[in-house]
């Protein structure tokens, strides 16, 4: 494997690991807000946490696409 591919894989894995950690926190947040916040705040929290999770998944999908290889 060429140097560039090695570094690219390492960067992709690091970003994926961070997003995974973020998704774990967001999931825990979703569970916690379900039982600790009144309905209106809970719904608002769920909306923003869902968008955050989707943004993380979008980033992972984006960086693993093959068109990023020059």
């Amino acid at each position: 494997m060429a140097r560039r591919e090695k570094i690219q894989s390492a960067v992709r894995i690091a970003i994926t690991a961070f997003v995974t950690l973020l998704l774990i926190i967001v999931t825990l947040g979703w569970i916690w807000t379900t039982s600790h916040q009144p309905p209106a705040l809970r719904t608002a929290s769920h909306v923003v946490l869902t968008i955050a999770a989707l943004a993380g998944i979008f980033a992972v999908a984006k960086i693993w696409r093959r068109d990023t290889v020059r």
Binding site: R4, Q8, I25, G29, T33, L41, S45, I63, R70
Partner: protein
């Protein structure tokens, strides 16, 4: 003589901004990323303190807040960080010479711009001593609907994600990009 002239040139603001977007862009981005990740560490730890350890929200102040509770309660710290982010995103933008990396970097900048306005609203309330809509604590616009911890987890994510995508494309420009990089960031084969 030549060295002194060069040093004088480097100390000018135009020279400084040029250097951090060319020769020192890689170093500046690394430094910026260290600040951003340290901030993330605080927010993720706060999430763990609330969601896993069951700490009351006012007591969950991350790592810094364990030692300096007054610091985390201060709106000035949060506003200061928002300004640092805004300045970092703006000053390092011209180093992103590709179409794709510049697009994502500026997306992060504009989202951070709004995030910074939210913190400015909080900071203003802390200064004047009157809170929005008579709330017991300083409250930002979106915070009228969304609780603060979850809202800032959201804001930090939607600023960080385009920033990371920009940096990724900056390091590994796509095949379709035809530009002359001004810095040493792109990883060569």
């Amino acid at each position: 003589m030549h060295t002194a002239t060069a040093a004088t040139h480097d100390l000018t603001s135009a020279g400084f901004f040029e250097r951090i977007n060319t020769d020192y862009h890689e170093l500046a981005l690394r430094g910026f990323m260290v600040i951003v990740l340290a901030h993330w560490f605080e927010h993720l730890l706060q999430g763990l303190q609330i969601y896993v350890l069951g700490w009351p929200v006012p007591e969950a102040r991350g790592a810094l807040g364990l030692f300096f509770p007054w610091l985390i309660k201060s709106e000035a710290l949060h506003y200061g960080y928002a300004v640092v982010m805004l300045i970092g995103l703006w000053t390092l933008r011209t180093g992103f010479t590709g179409k794709v990396d510049r697009f994502w970097w500026m997306t992060a900048f504009w989202i951070q711009f709004f995030h910074h306005i939210e913190h400015a609203i909080l900071q203003t309330q802390a200064i004047i001593g009157h809170n929005l809509m008579g709330r017991p604590v300083p409250t930002s616009l979106v915070q009228l609907w969304v609780p603060r911890v979850e809202l800032h987890l959201f804001y930090n994510t939607i600023v960080f994600i385009p920033m990371v995508i920009a940096m990724y494309y900056h390091l590994f420009p796509p095949a379709s990009e035809k530009f002359a990089p001004r810095c040493s960031c792109a990883v060569e084969a």
